[in-house]
C-alpha cells in the first residue's frame, strides 16, 4: 500500500555531516528496524521521514510521491515518541482525538475512532484520565493509540520501549508485534538500540553506522552472514570474537593461521589465489565455540572469568596481551569449576567468518 523510497539522502547540520547517501527501499507492510550505536543518526533518519527534520539532500518518496517538502501532517505518517510526548493537559480521550479534531472530523466520527482504538489497546477505563495518572505502560499505549486513530500509512516508532522497565518492555514488544500482525498492510519503521527488539520485531533490519547504512537484511541474514566486522560485532550478544590471522590456503574453503601460534582454522568461506598471505580477521560467535580435546588446530587459552547464567556458561579467556579484548565462549548448560583451566576451543568451518579489510569474504565485489 505505502512503500517508502529513500534516494541518496544526506543530512548535515552546518558543516557536520550526520548521514550521507542513504539509499533504501521499504516495501508496503514491512516492519523495518533501524539499529545502530548511539549517535549514528538513526533517530535523525526517522525524524526526516516524519518531516520533523529538513532533508539536506536526496529525495524521500512515500507511496511514489516525493514528500521532501510536504508538512508532516500530510505525509500519512504517525509517530510514537521516545518520551511518549502526551499532551499533559489533555485527557486520554482528548490526546487521541486531537489530530482528528484538527482534521475537523465530526464528533461522532471522532468518538467512534477513539473508542475503537481504546478498545484495541485496553484503554477504555482510562479515557477520562490525565496522562500523569497513568502508568508508564499505559502512557505508551496512549501514544500508540494516538497513532492508530489517525489510520496512517506509515507508523514511526522512536525507541518506544526505552523508558519502560524490563518486564513491561517484553510485554509491550509483544503487543507491538501483535499490532503489526493486525495491520498487515501498514508499514512500520522502528528505531531502537536494543538488538533483541530488532531481532524479534523486524522483517528487515537496517544497521546504521558511520553516517551510512552498514547492512540491510532479515534478522537471520545479519546474524548468519554479516557483511562486515561492524555488523558482525553489533548483532549478537556477547559480541563476535575476532582473531587476527593470515590466510595460508585458498580455494572453496579457506585456512587461516591465527596470530600468536593459536593454530590454523578452517572456514567454509571461499577465497581467491590472490588472498594467499593476506592479513584477515577471523570472526567466531561465542556460541559457536566448542570445547575439544584435540590440542591440534584449536585455540588454547586459560579461563580468566566464568559467568554461570544457568542455561549457558560464559567463559572469558585470558588474552595474549594484557588489555586486549578477551575471547568469549558461550557453552550451553552448566559447567562447574572451569576457572583457571586451560582449554582447547574449536568451531565448525561453516561458523567461521573471515573479514579482509573489515569486509566479509562472502560480500567482496558486491
Amino acid at each position: 500500500m505505502a512503500g517508502l523510497k529513500l534516494t541518496s539522502i544526506d543530512k548535515s547540520y552546518g558543516d557536520v555531516d550526520v548521514l550521507k547517501d542513504i539509499n533504501l527501499d521499504i516495501e508496503a507492510g514491512e516492519l523495518i528496524v533501524f539499529v545502530g550505536p548511539s549517535g549514528c543518526g538513526k533517530s535523525t533518519l526517522l525524524r526526516m521521514i516524519a518531516g520533523l527534520e529538513k532533508i539536506t539532500g536526496g529525495t524521500l518518496e512515500i507511496d511514489g510521491l516525493v514528500v521532501n517538502d510536504v508538512p508532516p501532517a500530510q505525509r500519512g505518517i504517525a509517530m510514537v515518541f521516545q518520551s511518549y510526548a502526551l499532551y499533559p493537559h489533555m485527557t486520554v480521550f482528548d490526546n487521541m482525538a486531537f489530530a482528528l479534531k484538527l482534521a475537523k472530523l465530526s464528533k461522532d466520527e471522532i468518538d467512534t475512532a477513539v473508542r475503537k482504538a481504546a478498545d484495541i489497546l485496553q484503554l477504555t477505563p482510562y479515557l477520562d484520565r490525565l496522562p500523569k495518572a497513568l502508568s508508564g505502560g499505559q502512557r505508551q499505549r496512549v501514544a500508540i493509540g494516538r497513532c492508530i486513530v489517525r489510520d496512517p500509512k506509515v507508523f514511526l516508532f522512536d525507541e518506544p520501549l526505552s523508558n519502560l522497565d524490563a518486564a513491561l518492555r517484553v510485554a509491550t514488544r509483544l503487543e507491538i508485534a501483535q499490532l503489526k500482525e493486525s495491520m498487515p498492510d501498514r508499514t512500520m519503521i522502528y528505531v531502537t538500540h536494543d538488538q533483541v527488539e530488532a531481532m524479534t520485531l523486524a522483517s528487515r533490519i537496517v544497521v546504521l553506522a558511520d553516517k551510512g547504512i552498514s547492512q540491510v537484511g532479515t534478522p537471520l541474514e545479519l546474524y548468519e552472514t554479516p557483511q562486515n566486522e561492524f555488523v558482525a560485532q553489533f548483532i549478537g550478544s556477547p559480541a563476535m570474537n575476532l582473531f587476527a590471522g593470515e590466510i595460508v590456503a585458498t580455494g572453496e574453503r579457506t585456512s587461516i593461521a591465527l596470530e600468536g601460534g593459536h593454530g590454523v582454522v578452517q572456514s567454509a568461506y571461499p577465497s581467491q589465489e590472490g588472498d594467499l598471505g593476506a592479513k584477515v580477521n577471523v570472526g567466531i560467535r561465542p556460541e559457536d565455540l566448542a570445547l575439544t580435546d584435540d590440542p591440534e588446530n584449536s585455540y588454547t587459552a586459560t579461563v580468566d572469568v566464568q559467568e554461570n547464567l544457568g542455561e549457558v556458561t560464559l567463559l572469558f579467556f585470558k588474552p595474549d596481551s594484557p588489555g586486549a579484548e578477551p575471547v568469549i565462549a558461550k557453552l550451553p548448560g552448566i559447567h562447574r569449576g572451569l576457572k583457571g583451566e586451560t582449554l582447547n576451543l574449536s568451531a565448525a568451518p561453516e561458523k567461521v567468518h573471515v573479514f579482509r579489510d573489515g569486509i566479509s569474504l562472502l560480500y567482496r565485489g558486491t
Binding site: 501532517a73 499532551y87 494516538r146
Partner: protein, 398 residues
Amino acid sequence: MHPALQGLITIVIGVGGCVGYFYFSNFLLDRFLLPARAFTAAETAARRRLGLIFLFALPTLLILALYLSGTGLSGIASGWGLFWLLVVLALIFGLWRLTGFVFATGETTAGHNISHANMIRPWLFLLPAILALGLYLTYPVFETLRLSLIHRNGGVGIGNYTFMFGEQKFWEAMRNNMLWLVVVPAMSTAFGLIVAQLTDRLSWGNIAKMLVFMPMAISMVGASVIWKLVYESRPAEVEQIGVLNALWVGMGGEPQQWLTLPVWNNFFLMVVLIWIQTGFAMVILSAALRGIPEETVEAAIVDGAGPFQIFFKIKVPQIMSTIVVVWTTITLVVLKVFDIVFTMTNGQWGTQVLANYMYDKMFRANDWGTGSAAAMVIMLLVTPILVWNVRNARKEMR
C-alpha cells in the same frame, strides 16, 4: 564627612553586621552549645548549669530590667503595662522551654548534638528576618488599624470609613483601580507571552528581550518622567516635543493635553505600568515556554497542528499555572500603584487611585484616620490575591 563615605560606611556596617551575626551565631551554636562530640553524664550536667546561667538567666534578667525600666513599677497596672508584662513573661517562658532542648540530661552522643544543632540552625537564619518583618510589617498593620478607628476630632469608631465611603473621590479611586486591575495585568501578561514566544526563535531574540526587560530596571518615577515627556504638549504653532503629539499633529490633529483627557488619561497612565511590567511577564513566561517538552510540540506538528493551534492548544495550556502566577503578581503591583499617578497627574482629571488617595489624605490633608482607613481598604483588596498567588506559586514549585 562626605555623604558617599557615610553611605559606604553604612554598607560596610550593615553587610558586616549580617555576616558577623550569621558567623558568630553559628559559631556559638557549633562550638559551645552543641559541639559535634559525645558528652558524659557529668559533662552534660556541668554544661547545663553553666548554660542556664549564661544563656537563659542573664537574658531573662535583662528582659525583666528592660521591662521595668520601660514601664516602672506603678505602670504595671495600666493596660499597656499588662500587655508588655504578658510579652515579657512569654519570652521568659520560651527561653526556659529551650533549655530542655539545648541541654540534655545524662549521656549524649555526637549524633544527638549534631541533629539538635541542625534543628536550631534554621531559626538562627530566620530570626533577623522575623524580627525585621515583625517590626516593619506586622506592627504597622495593627497600628494602621488602630489609627483608622480614631477620628480627627478624637472620636473612636468607624467614622473614618463612613466618611470615606461618602466621598466621591474615593469611589473614583475605586473605579480607576478596578480599571487598572482589569487592563494592566491582562495587557502585560499578553504582551509578555507574545514577546516571549516571538523572540524565542530569533537570532537577535536576546537583544529584543533585553530591550523589553530594560524598563524593569527603571524606577516608576523615572518611567513616569519619561512618559510625561512622551505625552508633553506645546501650543499648535510651536514644534511639539512630545512624541505622541508630534505623531498626532503630523497626522493632522490638534495638539492635545493627553493627561487631562477624561477617562483616556487613565489608559495613558496604565501604558506606563504595562511598559514596565511586560518585561517581568516576558522573563517568567519565556522560562516557562522553554520548559515545555519539545516532543509534545513535535507530536502536535505530526498531528497536523498549525503554529496558532500549537501556541494556543499545546503551549499555553501547559504553562497556564505560570500565567496565573504572573497575572496575580502583576495584579498585586497594580493594586498598590502610586508613583505613576502621583508623578504624572497626582490624581487630577479623574485619575485618582486608592494609594494616591491614601497619600492625599494622610500627608496632604493630615487626616491620619481617613488615610489609614484607605490603607486598610487596599490591604483588604490585596490579601486574597496575595494568598491565591502564594498558593499558585507553591503548586508551581511542586
